[in-house]
Amino acid sequence: MATTSSRAPAATLALHVEKHVHYITTLDTAKDTLSYHLSEHLRINGVYWGLTALHLLGHPEALPRDETISFVTSCLQPCGGFSSAPGHDAHLLSTVSAVQILATIDALDTIDTTLVAKWVAGLQQEDGVFAGDEWGETDTRFLYGALNCLSLLGKMELIDVEKAVEYVLRCWNTDGGFGMAPGAESHSGQIFTCVGALTIAGRLGEIDGEMLGDWLAERQLANGGLNGRPEKLEDVCYSWWVLSSLAMIGRLGWIDKEGLVGFILGCQDEKKGGISDRPNDEVDVFHTVFGLAGLSLLGYEGLQEVDPVYCMPRSVTKRVLGN
Protein backbone atom coordinates (compact mmCIF):
# COMPACT_ATOMS: atom_id res chain seq x y z
CA MET A 1 0.00 0.00 0.00
CA ALA A 2 2.98 2.32 -0.39
CA THR A 3 1.81 5.84 -1.25
CA THR A 4 3.51 8.05 -3.76
CA SER A 5 2.95 11.76 -3.59
CA SER A 6 1.46 13.28 -6.71
CA ARG A 7 1.56 16.94 -5.74
CA ALA A 8 1.92 19.80 -8.17
CA PRO A 9 5.51 21.00 -8.54
CA ALA A 10 5.44 24.29 -6.63
CA ALA A 11 8.52 25.57 -8.39
CA THR A 12 6.74 25.82 -11.73
CA LEU A 13 3.79 27.86 -10.40
CA ALA A 14 3.83 31.57 -9.56
CA LEU A 15 1.55 33.82 -7.48
CA HIS A 16 -0.43 36.20 -9.69
CA VAL A 17 -0.43 39.25 -7.43
CA GLU A 18 -1.75 41.86 -9.91
CA LYS A 19 -4.55 39.55 -11.08
CA HIS A 20 -5.71 38.93 -7.52
CA VAL A 21 -5.75 42.65 -6.75
CA HIS A 22 -7.79 43.26 -9.88
CA TYR A 23 -10.17 40.42 -9.05
CA ILE A 24 -10.88 41.75 -5.54
CA THR A 25 -11.27 45.41 -6.50
CA THR A 26 -13.66 44.64 -9.36
CA LEU A 27 -15.95 42.30 -7.43
CA ASP A 28 -18.69 44.95 -7.46
CA THR A 29 -18.95 44.95 -11.23
CA ALA A 30 -19.62 41.22 -11.36
CA LYS A 31 -23.31 41.18 -12.21
CA ASP A 32 -23.86 37.65 -11.09
CA THR A 33 -27.07 38.66 -9.39
CA LEU A 34 -28.02 35.29 -7.92
CA SER A 35 -24.87 34.58 -5.95
CA TYR A 36 -24.58 38.25 -5.06
CA HIS A 37 -27.90 38.65 -3.35
CA LEU A 38 -27.53 35.28 -1.66
CA SER A 39 -24.43 36.50 0.12
CA GLU A 40 -26.11 39.59 1.53
CA HIS A 41 -25.80 38.26 5.07
CA LEU A 42 -22.03 38.05 4.51
CA ARG A 43 -21.48 41.53 3.16
CA ILE A 44 -19.31 43.01 5.90
CA ASN A 45 -17.46 39.70 6.13
CA GLY A 46 -16.79 40.03 2.41
CA VAL A 47 -15.25 43.45 2.95
CA TYR A 48 -13.01 42.01 5.68
CA TRP A 49 -11.90 39.14 3.43
CA GLY A 50 -11.19 41.43 0.49
CA LEU A 51 -9.41 44.07 2.56
CA THR A 52 -7.23 41.50 4.34
CA ALA A 53 -6.31 39.87 1.03
CA LEU A 54 -5.30 43.26 -0.40
CA HIS A 55 -3.13 44.01 2.63
CA LEU A 56 -1.40 40.63 2.44
CA LEU A 57 -0.78 41.27 -1.26
CA GLY A 58 0.89 44.56 -0.37
CA HIS A 59 -1.84 46.76 -1.92
CA PRO A 60 -3.58 48.24 1.13
CA GLU A 61 -4.57 51.36 -0.82
CA ALA A 62 -6.66 49.45 -3.36
CA LEU A 63 -9.81 49.80 -1.25
CA PRO A 64 -10.57 53.49 -0.55
CA ARG A 65 -10.18 54.18 3.19
CA ASP A 66 -12.92 56.81 3.59
CA GLU A 67 -15.53 54.73 1.83
CA THR A 68 -14.56 51.69 3.87
CA ILE A 69 -15.04 53.65 7.10
CA SER A 70 -18.36 55.06 6.00
CA PHE A 71 -19.68 51.63 4.97
CA VAL A 72 -18.61 50.02 8.25
CA THR A 73 -19.99 52.80 10.44
CA SER A 74 -23.28 52.70 8.51
CA CYS A 75 -23.64 49.09 9.76
CA LEU A 76 -23.33 50.10 13.43
CA GLN A 77 -26.67 49.59 15.18
CA PRO A 78 -27.84 51.58 18.23
CA CYS A 79 -27.29 48.51 20.46
CA GLY A 80 -23.54 48.62 19.79
CA GLY A 81 -23.36 45.62 17.46
CA PHE A 82 -22.75 45.74 13.72
CA SER A 83 -25.01 44.26 11.04
CA SER A 84 -23.88 42.62 7.80
CA ALA A 85 -25.28 45.56 5.84
CA PRO A 86 -27.14 48.76 6.73
CA GLY A 87 -30.66 48.10 7.96
CA HIS A 88 -30.08 44.54 9.18
CA ASP A 89 -29.88 43.17 12.72
CA ALA A 90 -26.63 43.26 14.63
CA HIS A 91 -24.73 39.98 14.74
CA LEU A 92 -21.52 38.97 16.45
CA LEU A 93 -19.84 37.74 13.27
CA SER A 94 -20.53 41.07 11.53
CA THR A 95 -19.23 42.90 14.58
CA VAL A 96 -15.97 40.94 14.56
CA SER A 97 -15.47 41.77 10.88
CA ALA A 98 -16.23 45.43 11.50
CA VAL A 99 -13.67 45.66 14.31
CA GLN A 100 -11.08 43.77 12.24
CA ILE A 101 -11.60 46.10 9.28
CA LEU A 102 -11.32 49.24 11.40
CA ALA A 103 -8.27 47.90 13.22
CA THR A 104 -6.60 47.07 9.91
CA ILE A 105 -7.06 50.58 8.51
CA ASP A 106 -6.26 52.17 11.90
CA ALA A 107 -9.73 53.70 12.30
CA LEU A 108 -10.96 52.28 15.61
CA ASP A 109 -11.20 55.87 16.83
CA THR A 110 -14.19 56.42 14.51
CA ILE A 111 -16.47 54.33 16.76
CA ASP A 112 -17.46 54.19 20.42
CA THR A 113 -15.39 51.12 21.30
CA THR A 114 -16.85 50.85 24.81
CA LEU A 115 -20.40 50.63 23.46
CA VAL A 116 -19.36 47.92 20.98
CA ALA A 117 -17.41 45.95 23.58
CA LYS A 118 -20.35 46.09 26.02
CA TRP A 119 -22.71 44.65 23.42
CA VAL A 120 -20.31 41.79 22.66
CA ALA A 121 -19.69 41.08 26.35
CA GLY A 122 -23.47 40.91 26.89
CA LEU A 123 -23.66 37.89 24.57
CA GLN A 124 -21.72 35.67 26.98
CA GLN A 125 -23.91 32.92 28.47
CA GLU A 126 -24.01 31.34 31.92
CA ASP A 127 -21.79 28.42 30.78
CA GLY A 128 -19.10 30.68 29.29
CA VAL A 129 -19.97 30.33 25.59
CA PHE A 130 -21.24 33.22 23.46
CA ALA A 131 -24.42 33.66 21.46
CA GLY A 132 -24.27 35.12 17.96
CA ASP A 133 -27.04 37.61 18.66
CA GLU A 134 -29.92 38.28 21.00
CA TRP A 135 -31.64 35.05 19.87
CA GLY A 136 -29.29 32.78 21.65
CA GLU A 137 -27.76 30.47 19.04
CA THR A 138 -24.42 29.49 20.65
CA ASP A 139 -21.27 28.11 19.11
CA THR A 140 -17.49 28.09 19.70
CA ARG A 141 -17.17 30.26 16.57
CA PHE A 142 -18.97 33.01 18.45
CA LEU A 143 -16.80 32.50 21.50
CA TYR A 144 -13.64 32.89 19.42
CA GLY A 145 -15.13 35.88 17.61
CA ALA A 146 -15.92 37.59 20.89
CA LEU A 147 -12.39 37.12 22.21
CA ASN A 148 -10.93 38.20 18.87
CA CYS A 149 -12.77 41.52 18.78
CA LEU A 150 -12.63 42.27 22.52
CA SER A 151 -8.85 41.78 22.52
CA LEU A 152 -8.53 44.11 19.53
CA LEU A 153 -10.65 46.64 21.43
CA GLY A 154 -8.55 46.16 24.58
CA LYS A 155 -11.68 45.27 26.59
CA MET A 156 -11.13 41.67 27.67
CA GLU A 157 -11.86 42.63 31.26
CA LEU A 158 -15.57 42.94 30.40
CA ILE A 159 -16.04 39.16 30.15
CA ASP A 160 -15.47 36.05 32.24
CA VAL A 161 -12.41 34.66 30.44
CA GLU A 162 -12.11 31.75 32.87
CA LYS A 163 -15.61 30.50 32.05
CA ALA A 164 -14.98 30.87 28.32
CA VAL A 165 -11.81 28.79 28.63
CA GLU A 166 -13.68 26.13 30.61
CA TYR A 167 -16.29 25.91 27.85
CA VAL A 168 -13.63 25.51 25.15
CA LEU A 169 -11.96 22.75 27.13
CA ARG A 170 -15.29 20.91 27.36
CA CYS A 171 -15.30 20.73 23.53
CA TRP A 172 -11.90 19.03 23.55
CA ASN A 173 -12.02 15.47 22.25
CA THR A 174 -9.86 12.45 23.04
CA ASP A 175 -8.47 12.49 19.49
CA GLY A 176 -6.84 15.84 20.34
CA GLY A 177 -9.26 17.95 18.27
CA PHE A 178 -12.27 20.12 19.10
CA GLY A 179 -15.91 19.98 17.99
CA MET A 180 -18.68 22.56 17.78
CA ALA A 181 -20.15 21.57 21.14
CA PRO A 182 -19.12 19.15 23.90
CA GLY A 183 -19.00 15.64 22.35
CA ALA A 184 -19.23 16.80 18.71
CA GLU A 185 -16.91 15.41 16.03
CA SER A 186 -13.50 17.08 15.71
CA HIS A 187 -13.48 19.54 12.83
CA SER A 188 -10.66 21.78 11.56
CA GLY A 189 -12.79 24.93 11.56
CA GLN A 190 -13.80 24.34 15.18
CA ILE A 191 -10.20 23.55 16.12
CA PHE A 192 -9.12 26.90 14.71
CA THR A 193 -11.72 28.73 16.80
CA CYS A 194 -10.92 26.84 20.00
CA VAL A 195 -7.14 27.08 19.66
CA GLY A 196 -7.49 30.74 18.67
CA ALA A 197 -9.65 31.43 21.74
CA LEU A 198 -7.18 29.68 24.05
CA THR A 199 -4.28 31.60 22.48
CA ILE A 200 -5.99 34.95 22.98
CA ALA A 201 -6.85 33.97 26.56
CA GLY A 202 -3.20 33.00 27.13
CA ARG A 203 -4.26 29.48 28.11
CA LEU A 204 -2.80 27.29 25.36
CA GLY A 205 -0.87 25.43 28.06
CA GLU A 206 -4.12 23.66 29.03
CA ILE A 207 -4.10 21.34 26.03
CA ASP A 208 -1.89 18.56 24.72
CA GLY A 209 -0.24 20.06 21.65
CA GLU A 210 1.37 16.76 20.66
CA MET A 211 -1.93 14.97 20.25
CA LEU A 212 -3.64 17.88 18.54
CA GLY A 213 -0.65 18.34 16.22
CA ASP A 214 -0.84 14.66 15.31
CA TRP A 215 -4.53 15.02 14.34
CA LEU A 216 -3.84 18.21 12.38
CA ALA A 217 -0.81 16.83 10.53
CA GLU A 218 -2.94 13.86 9.53
CA ARG A 219 -5.12 16.24 7.49
CA GLN A 220 -2.54 16.59 4.72
CA LEU A 221 -3.22 14.46 1.66
CA ALA A 222 -0.77 13.15 -0.90
CA ASN A 223 -1.59 16.05 -3.29
CA GLY A 224 -0.35 18.52 -0.64
CA GLY A 225 -3.78 19.96 0.26
CA LEU A 226 -5.38 19.62 3.70
CA ASN A 227 -8.88 18.44 4.57
CA GLY A 228 -11.21 19.44 7.41
CA ARG A 229 -12.07 16.00 8.75
CA PRO A 230 -10.87 12.43 8.09
CA GLU A 231 -12.01 11.02 4.75
CA LYS A 232 -13.10 14.40 3.34
CA LEU A 233 -11.75 16.29 0.33
CA GLU A 234 -8.87 18.76 0.55
CA ASP A 235 -9.86 22.44 0.48
CA VAL A 236 -7.97 25.77 0.54
CA CYS A 237 -10.02 27.18 3.44
CA TYR A 238 -9.48 24.09 5.60
CA SER A 239 -5.82 24.24 4.70
CA TRP A 240 -5.74 27.65 6.38
CA TRP A 241 -7.56 26.53 9.52
CA VAL A 242 -5.32 23.51 9.97
CA LEU A 243 -2.16 25.43 9.15
CA SER A 244 -2.89 28.39 11.44
CA SER A 245 -3.77 25.99 14.29
CA LEU A 246 -0.44 24.21 13.80
CA ALA A 247 1.29 27.60 13.85
CA MET A 248 -0.43 28.57 17.11
CA ILE A 249 0.73 25.38 18.83
CA GLY A 250 4.22 25.78 17.38
CA ARG A 251 4.15 22.77 15.07
CA LEU A 252 4.03 24.29 11.61
CA GLY A 253 7.03 22.17 10.66
CA TRP A 254 5.00 18.96 10.81
CA ILE A 255 3.49 19.33 7.38
CA ASP A 256 5.02 19.26 3.93
CA LYS A 257 5.23 22.98 3.14
CA GLU A 258 6.25 22.64 -0.47
CA GLY A 259 3.34 20.30 -1.09
CA LEU A 260 0.83 22.77 0.37
CA VAL A 261 2.29 25.77 -1.48
CA GLY A 262 1.92 23.81 -4.73
CA PHE A 263 -1.68 22.92 -3.89
CA ILE A 264 -2.72 26.53 -3.11
CA LEU A 265 -0.97 27.98 -6.17
CA GLY A 266 -2.71 25.35 -8.25
CA CYS A 267 -6.09 26.72 -7.10
CA GLN A 268 -5.54 30.17 -8.66
CA ASP A 269 -7.56 31.32 -11.63
CA GLU A 270 -4.64 32.38 -13.80
CA LYS A 271 -6.83 34.41 -16.16
CA LYS A 272 -9.13 36.51 -13.98
CA GLY A 273 -7.41 36.16 -10.59
CA GLY A 274 -8.82 34.79 -7.34
CA ILE A 275 -8.39 31.42 -5.61
CA SER A 276 -10.88 28.54 -5.41
CA ASP A 277 -11.41 25.70 -2.91
CA ARG A 278 -9.59 23.19 -5.09
CA PRO A 279 -8.08 23.24 -8.58
CA ASN A 280 -10.39 24.25 -11.46
CA ASP A 281 -13.36 25.27 -9.29
CA GLU A 282 -14.97 28.72 -9.34
CA VAL A 283 -12.98 31.32 -7.35
CA ASP A 284 -14.43 33.45 -4.53
CA VAL A 285 -13.12 36.10 -2.15
CA PHE A 286 -13.37 33.77 0.86
CA HIS A 287 -10.99 31.16 -0.55
CA THR A 288 -8.83 33.93 -2.00
CA VAL A 289 -8.01 35.43 1.40
CA PHE A 290 -7.46 32.07 3.09
CA GLY A 291 -5.26 30.87 0.23
CA LEU A 292 -3.12 34.00 0.49
CA ALA A 293 -3.02 33.78 4.29
CA GLY A 294 -1.85 30.17 4.00
CA LEU A 295 0.91 31.11 1.59
CA SER A 296 1.95 33.95 3.89
CA LEU A 297 2.14 31.63 6.88
CA LEU A 298 4.26 29.24 4.82
CA GLY A 299 6.70 32.12 4.24
CA TYR A 300 5.88 32.61 0.56
CA GLU A 301 7.99 35.43 -0.84
CA GLY A 302 6.39 38.80 -1.59
CA LEU A 303 3.43 38.53 0.79
CA GLN A 304 2.97 40.49 4.00
CA GLU A 305 3.23 38.42 7.17
CA VAL A 306 -0.13 37.17 8.50
CA ASP A 307 -1.10 36.70 12.16
CA PRO A 308 -2.36 33.10 12.51
CA VAL A 309 -4.64 33.94 15.45
CA TYR A 310 -6.53 36.82 13.84
CA CYS A 311 -6.04 36.27 10.10
CA MET A 312 -4.96 39.90 9.81
CA PRO A 313 -1.63 41.42 8.80
CA ARG A 314 0.91 40.82 11.57
CA SER A 315 1.97 44.49 11.37
CA VAL A 316 -1.60 45.45 12.29
CA THR A 317 -1.97 43.11 15.28
CA LYS A 318 1.45 44.29 16.51
CA ARG A 319 0.30 47.90 16.36
CA VAL A 320 -3.09 47.25 17.97
CA LEU A 321 -2.13 44.67 20.60
CA GLY A 322 1.31 46.07 21.26
CA ASN A 323 3.13 42.73 21.07
Binding site: T3, S5, D28, L34, L51, A181, E218, A222, R229, I255
Partner: protein, 301 residues
Amino acid sequence: MYQERPEWEDVIPLPQDDGALPLAQIAYTDEYAEAMSYLRALMAKDEHSERALEITEHIIEMNPAHYTVWLYRANIVFALGKDLRKEVEWLNEKALRHEKNYQIWHHRQLIIDKLDDSTGEADFIAKMFQKDAKNYHVWSYRQWLVKRFGLWEKGELEYVEYLLEQDVRNNSAWSHRFFLVCGNGQELTEEIVQRELGYVSDNIFLAPQNPSPWNYIRGILQRAKLPMSRIEKTCTYYAPLDNPEKIKSSHALDILAEIYSTIPEQKDLAIQSLDLLSSTYDPIRTNYWNYRKTQIQKAAA
Protein backbone atom coordinates in the same frame (compact mmCIF):
# COMPACT_ATOMS: atom_id res chain seq x y z
CA MET B 1 -45.32 42.19 -6.33
CA TYR B 2 -46.34 43.43 -2.88
CA GLN B 3 -46.99 46.99 -4.03
CA GLU B 4 -49.94 45.87 -6.16
CA ARG B 5 -51.69 43.94 -3.37
CA PRO B 6 -54.31 45.74 -1.22
CA GLU B 7 -53.40 43.90 2.02
CA TRP B 8 -49.94 45.53 1.88
CA GLU B 9 -51.21 49.03 1.14
CA ASP B 10 -50.56 50.33 4.67
CA VAL B 11 -46.87 49.33 4.59
CA ILE B 12 -44.28 51.81 3.40
CA PRO B 13 -41.37 49.73 2.07
CA LEU B 14 -37.88 50.53 3.40
CA PRO B 15 -35.42 50.24 0.55
CA GLN B 16 -31.82 49.16 1.01
CA ASP B 17 -29.15 51.80 1.42
CA ASP B 18 -26.04 50.25 -0.02
CA GLY B 19 -23.53 52.98 0.65
CA ALA B 20 -20.77 53.72 -1.81
CA LEU B 21 -18.19 51.03 -1.11
CA PRO B 22 -17.73 48.91 -4.25
CA LEU B 23 -16.91 45.64 -2.49
CA ALA B 24 -20.05 45.99 -0.40
CA GLN B 25 -22.51 46.53 -3.22
CA ILE B 26 -24.86 43.83 -4.23
CA ALA B 27 -26.98 43.56 -7.31
CA TYR B 28 -30.46 42.34 -6.42
CA THR B 29 -33.15 40.75 -8.41
CA ASP B 30 -36.20 43.03 -8.35
CA GLU B 31 -38.36 40.43 -6.65
CA TYR B 32 -35.90 39.94 -3.80
CA ALA B 33 -35.27 43.66 -3.36
CA GLU B 34 -38.99 44.40 -3.15
CA ALA B 35 -39.71 41.59 -0.68
CA MET B 36 -36.79 42.71 1.48
CA SER B 37 -38.00 46.30 1.56
CA TYR B 38 -41.41 45.15 2.82
CA LEU B 39 -39.81 42.80 5.34
CA ARG B 40 -37.69 45.64 6.72
CA ALA B 41 -40.82 47.75 7.15
CA LEU B 42 -42.60 44.99 9.11
CA MET B 43 -39.55 44.23 11.22
CA ALA B 44 -39.16 47.90 12.04
CA LYS B 45 -42.52 47.77 13.85
CA ASP B 46 -42.03 44.17 15.01
CA GLU B 47 -45.31 43.07 13.46
CA HIS B 48 -46.39 39.50 14.27
CA SER B 49 -49.03 38.56 11.71
CA GLU B 50 -50.00 36.09 9.01
CA ARG B 51 -48.70 38.38 6.30
CA ALA B 52 -45.38 38.71 8.14
CA LEU B 53 -45.16 34.93 8.24
CA GLU B 54 -45.89 34.83 4.52
CA ILE B 55 -43.13 37.27 3.67
CA THR B 56 -40.55 35.36 5.74
CA GLU B 57 -41.45 32.25 3.74
CA HIS B 58 -41.05 34.14 0.48
CA ILE B 59 -37.60 35.44 1.44
CA ILE B 60 -36.40 32.14 2.89
CA GLU B 61 -37.45 30.56 -0.38
CA MET B 62 -35.13 32.95 -2.25
CA ASN B 63 -32.33 33.14 0.32
CA PRO B 64 -32.38 30.54 3.11
CA ALA B 65 -29.04 31.75 4.49
CA HIS B 66 -30.53 35.05 5.66
CA TYR B 67 -30.40 34.43 9.42
CA THR B 68 -32.37 37.54 10.48
CA VAL B 69 -35.43 36.30 8.61
CA TRP B 70 -35.29 32.97 10.41
CA LEU B 71 -35.12 34.66 13.80
CA TYR B 72 -38.03 36.90 12.93
CA ARG B 73 -40.02 33.89 11.74
CA ALA B 74 -39.48 31.95 14.99
CA ASN B 75 -40.75 34.94 16.89
CA ILE B 76 -43.91 35.16 14.79
CA VAL B 77 -44.60 31.41 14.97
CA PHE B 78 -44.47 31.50 18.76
CA ALA B 79 -46.37 34.77 19.09
CA LEU B 80 -49.26 33.56 16.90
CA GLY B 81 -49.30 30.13 18.55
CA LYS B 82 -48.96 28.38 15.19
CA ASP B 83 -49.17 24.60 14.86
CA LEU B 84 -45.55 23.55 15.50
CA ARG B 85 -45.98 20.18 13.76
CA LYS B 86 -46.90 22.05 10.57
CA GLU B 87 -43.81 24.20 10.98
CA VAL B 88 -41.66 21.06 11.26
CA GLU B 89 -43.20 19.63 8.09
CA TRP B 90 -42.50 22.86 6.28
CA LEU B 91 -38.91 22.76 7.58
CA ASN B 92 -38.39 19.20 6.34
CA GLU B 93 -38.83 20.25 2.77
CA LYS B 94 -36.47 23.22 3.22
CA ALA B 95 -33.77 21.13 4.89
CA LEU B 96 -33.82 18.53 2.13
CA ARG B 97 -33.37 21.22 -0.51
CA HIS B 98 -30.68 23.24 1.30
CA GLU B 99 -28.31 20.75 2.82
CA LYS B 100 -25.51 23.17 3.67
CA ASN B 101 -27.73 25.64 5.46
CA TYR B 102 -27.55 25.63 9.24
CA GLN B 103 -30.09 28.33 10.10
CA ILE B 104 -32.70 25.68 9.27
CA TRP B 105 -31.30 23.43 12.00
CA HIS B 106 -31.18 26.12 14.59
CA HIS B 107 -34.80 26.97 13.81
CA ARG B 108 -35.71 23.28 14.06
CA GLN B 109 -34.04 23.06 17.45
CA LEU B 110 -36.15 25.98 18.72
CA ILE B 111 -39.37 24.40 17.43
CA ILE B 112 -38.71 20.85 18.68
CA ASP B 113 -37.58 22.16 22.05
CA LYS B 114 -40.87 24.03 22.38
CA LEU B 115 -42.84 20.99 21.17
CA ASP B 116 -41.08 18.92 23.84
CA ASP B 117 -41.42 15.80 21.70
CA SER B 118 -38.84 14.19 19.39
CA THR B 119 -41.21 11.76 17.66
CA GLY B 120 -40.38 11.45 13.96
CA GLU B 121 -37.02 13.20 14.20
CA ALA B 122 -34.93 10.05 13.71
CA ASP B 123 -36.91 9.22 10.55
CA PHE B 124 -36.33 12.64 9.12
CA ILE B 125 -32.63 12.60 9.95
CA ALA B 126 -32.35 9.26 8.16
CA LYS B 127 -33.65 11.01 5.04
CA MET B 128 -31.00 13.71 5.40
CA PHE B 129 -28.30 11.10 5.82
CA GLN B 130 -29.38 9.42 2.61
CA LYS B 131 -28.17 12.57 0.89
CA ASP B 132 -25.02 13.13 2.97
CA ALA B 133 -24.26 10.92 5.93
CA LYS B 134 -21.44 13.25 7.08
CA ASN B 135 -23.50 16.47 7.30
CA TYR B 136 -22.02 18.26 10.33
CA HIS B 137 -25.11 20.33 11.12
CA VAL B 138 -27.35 17.28 11.12
CA TRP B 139 -24.99 15.34 13.38
CA SER B 140 -24.80 18.27 15.80
CA TYR B 141 -28.58 18.41 15.83
CA ARG B 142 -28.78 14.66 16.48
CA GLN B 143 -26.45 14.96 19.47
CA TRP B 144 -28.60 17.75 20.81
CA LEU B 145 -31.67 15.47 20.46
CA VAL B 146 -29.92 12.64 22.32
CA LYS B 147 -29.05 14.97 25.19
CA ARG B 148 -32.34 16.88 25.23
CA PHE B 149 -34.57 13.77 25.18
CA GLY B 150 -32.24 11.24 26.86
CA LEU B 151 -32.04 8.93 23.85
CA TRP B 152 -28.70 7.33 24.81
CA GLU B 153 -29.97 3.78 24.75
CA LYS B 154 -32.93 4.15 22.42
CA GLY B 155 -31.50 2.47 19.33
CA GLU B 156 -28.73 5.00 18.69
CA LEU B 157 -25.87 2.49 18.76
CA GLU B 158 -27.75 0.19 16.39
CA TYR B 159 -28.32 3.09 14.03
CA VAL B 160 -24.61 3.98 14.02
CA GLU B 161 -23.80 0.36 13.17
CA TYR B 162 -26.28 0.47 10.33
CA LEU B 163 -24.61 3.61 8.92
CA LEU B 164 -21.15 2.09 9.26
CA GLU B 165 -22.36 -0.95 7.36
CA GLN B 166 -23.26 1.44 4.53
CA ASP B 167 -19.91 3.25 4.73
CA VAL B 168 -17.22 2.15 7.14
CA ARG B 169 -15.29 5.36 6.40
CA ASN B 170 -17.99 7.64 7.80
CA ASN B 171 -15.97 9.43 10.50
CA SER B 172 -19.06 11.29 11.74
CA ALA B 173 -20.73 7.98 12.58
CA TRP B 174 -17.61 6.82 14.43
CA SER B 175 -17.59 10.10 16.32
CA HIS B 176 -21.26 9.66 17.25
CA ARG B 177 -20.47 6.19 18.55
CA PHE B 178 -17.82 7.70 20.80
CA PHE B 179 -20.35 10.28 21.98
CA LEU B 180 -22.84 7.49 22.82
CA VAL B 181 -20.32 5.25 24.57
CA CYS B 182 -18.53 7.98 26.54
CA GLY B 183 -20.61 11.16 26.36
CA ASN B 184 -23.01 10.53 29.24
CA GLY B 185 -20.39 10.07 31.94
CA GLN B 186 -20.80 6.25 31.83
CA GLU B 187 -18.08 4.05 33.30
CA LEU B 188 -16.11 2.14 30.65
CA THR B 189 -16.29 -1.34 32.12
CA GLU B 190 -14.10 -4.19 30.87
CA GLU B 191 -17.21 -5.63 29.23
CA ILE B 192 -17.75 -2.47 27.18
CA VAL B 193 -14.05 -2.25 26.28
CA GLN B 194 -14.13 -5.86 25.04
CA ARG B 195 -17.22 -5.14 22.96
CA GLU B 196 -15.58 -2.07 21.41
CA LEU B 197 -12.30 -3.88 20.70
CA GLY B 198 -14.26 -6.59 18.89
CA TYR B 199 -16.33 -4.12 16.91
CA VAL B 200 -13.29 -2.11 15.90
CA SER B 201 -11.22 -5.08 14.78
CA ASP B 202 -14.09 -6.35 12.60
CA ASN B 203 -14.24 -2.98 10.92
CA ILE B 204 -10.48 -2.55 10.53
CA PHE B 205 -10.53 -5.86 8.70
CA LEU B 206 -12.84 -4.34 6.07
CA ALA B 207 -10.52 -1.37 5.41
CA PRO B 208 -7.18 -1.45 7.25
CA GLN B 209 -6.16 1.98 5.95
CA ASN B 210 -9.34 3.68 7.23
CA PRO B 211 -8.17 6.10 9.98
CA SER B 212 -11.51 6.29 11.85
CA PRO B 213 -11.60 2.95 13.74
CA TRP B 214 -7.94 3.33 14.71
CA ASN B 215 -8.55 6.81 16.12
CA TYR B 216 -11.72 5.56 17.75
CA ILE B 217 -10.12 2.71 19.68
CA ARG B 218 -7.22 4.93 20.67
CA GLY B 219 -9.78 7.26 22.25
CA ILE B 220 -11.64 4.43 24.03
CA LEU B 221 -8.45 3.02 25.55
CA GLN B 222 -7.38 6.47 26.64
CA ARG B 223 -10.75 7.18 28.22
CA ALA B 224 -10.66 3.80 30.00
CA LYS B 225 -7.09 4.54 31.15
CA LEU B 226 -5.84 1.33 29.53
CA PRO B 227 -2.48 0.96 27.75
CA MET B 228 -2.30 1.10 23.95
CA SER B 229 -0.68 -2.35 24.09
CA ARG B 230 -4.23 -3.76 24.32
CA ILE B 231 -4.31 -3.49 20.53
CA GLU B 232 -0.69 -4.53 19.85
CA LYS B 233 -1.75 -7.85 18.26
CA THR B 234 -4.12 -6.11 15.87
CA CYS B 235 -1.35 -3.69 14.92
CA THR B 236 1.27 -6.36 14.27
CA TYR B 237 -1.26 -8.24 12.16
CA TYR B 238 -1.66 -5.26 9.80
CA ALA B 239 1.95 -4.10 10.12
CA PRO B 240 4.32 -7.03 10.56
CA LEU B 241 7.69 -5.35 11.14
CA ASP B 242 9.54 -8.58 10.37
CA ASN B 243 7.91 -8.67 6.94
CA PRO B 244 7.50 -5.02 5.80
CA GLU B 245 6.28 -6.03 2.35
CA LYS B 246 3.07 -7.23 3.95
CA ILE B 247 2.23 -3.96 5.74
CA LYS B 248 -1.37 -2.93 5.10
CA SER B 249 -1.91 0.04 7.39
CA SER B 250 0.10 3.15 8.19
CA HIS B 251 -2.15 3.69 11.23
CA ALA B 252 -1.07 0.32 12.66
CA LEU B 253 2.56 1.40 12.20
CA ASP B 254 1.84 4.71 13.92
CA ILE B 255 0.33 2.99 16.99
CA LEU B 256 3.10 0.38 17.08
CA ALA B 257 5.66 3.18 17.21
CA GLU B 258 3.72 4.63 20.13
CA ILE B 259 3.54 1.32 22.01
CA TYR B 260 7.22 0.45 21.49
CA SER B 261 8.49 3.93 22.32
CA THR B 262 7.41 3.44 25.94
CA ILE B 263 9.48 0.26 26.35
CA PRO B 264 13.26 0.89 26.42
CA GLU B 265 14.22 -2.53 24.99
CA GLN B 266 11.88 -2.04 22.05
CA LYS B 267 12.81 1.44 21.02
CA ASP B 268 14.57 0.11 17.91
CA LEU B 269 11.23 -1.31 16.75
CA ALA B 270 9.64 2.08 17.34
CA ILE B 271 12.33 3.72 15.21
CA GLN B 272 11.86 1.08 12.51
CA SER B 273 8.11 1.77 12.41
CA LEU B 274 8.68 5.51 12.04
CA ASP B 275 11.30 4.97 9.32
CA LEU B 276 8.86 2.81 7.37
CA LEU B 277 6.24 5.54 7.67
CA SER B 278 8.48 8.29 6.34
CA SER B 279 10.18 6.24 3.64
CA THR B 280 7.23 4.31 2.26
CA TYR B 281 3.85 4.29 3.94
CA ASP B 282 3.13 7.95 4.72
CA PRO B 283 5.89 10.12 3.24
CA ILE B 284 3.91 13.40 3.14
CA ARG B 285 4.25 13.54 6.95
CA THR B 286 8.01 12.86 6.98
CA ASN B 287 8.69 15.93 9.13
CA TYR B 288 6.28 14.67 11.76
CA TRP B 289 7.68 11.11 11.84
CA ASN B 290 11.19 12.54 12.14
CA TYR B 291 10.04 14.64 15.07
CA ARG B 292 8.70 11.51 16.80
CA LYS B 293 12.08 9.81 16.24
CA THR B 294 14.00 12.62 17.87
CA GLN B 295 11.63 12.45 20.87
CA ILE B 296 12.41 8.76 21.34
CA GLN B 297 16.13 9.37 20.98
CA LYS B 298 15.96 12.23 23.46
CA ALA B 299 14.13 10.09 26.01
CA ALA B 300 16.73 7.34 25.63
CA ALA B 301 19.72 9.68 26.04
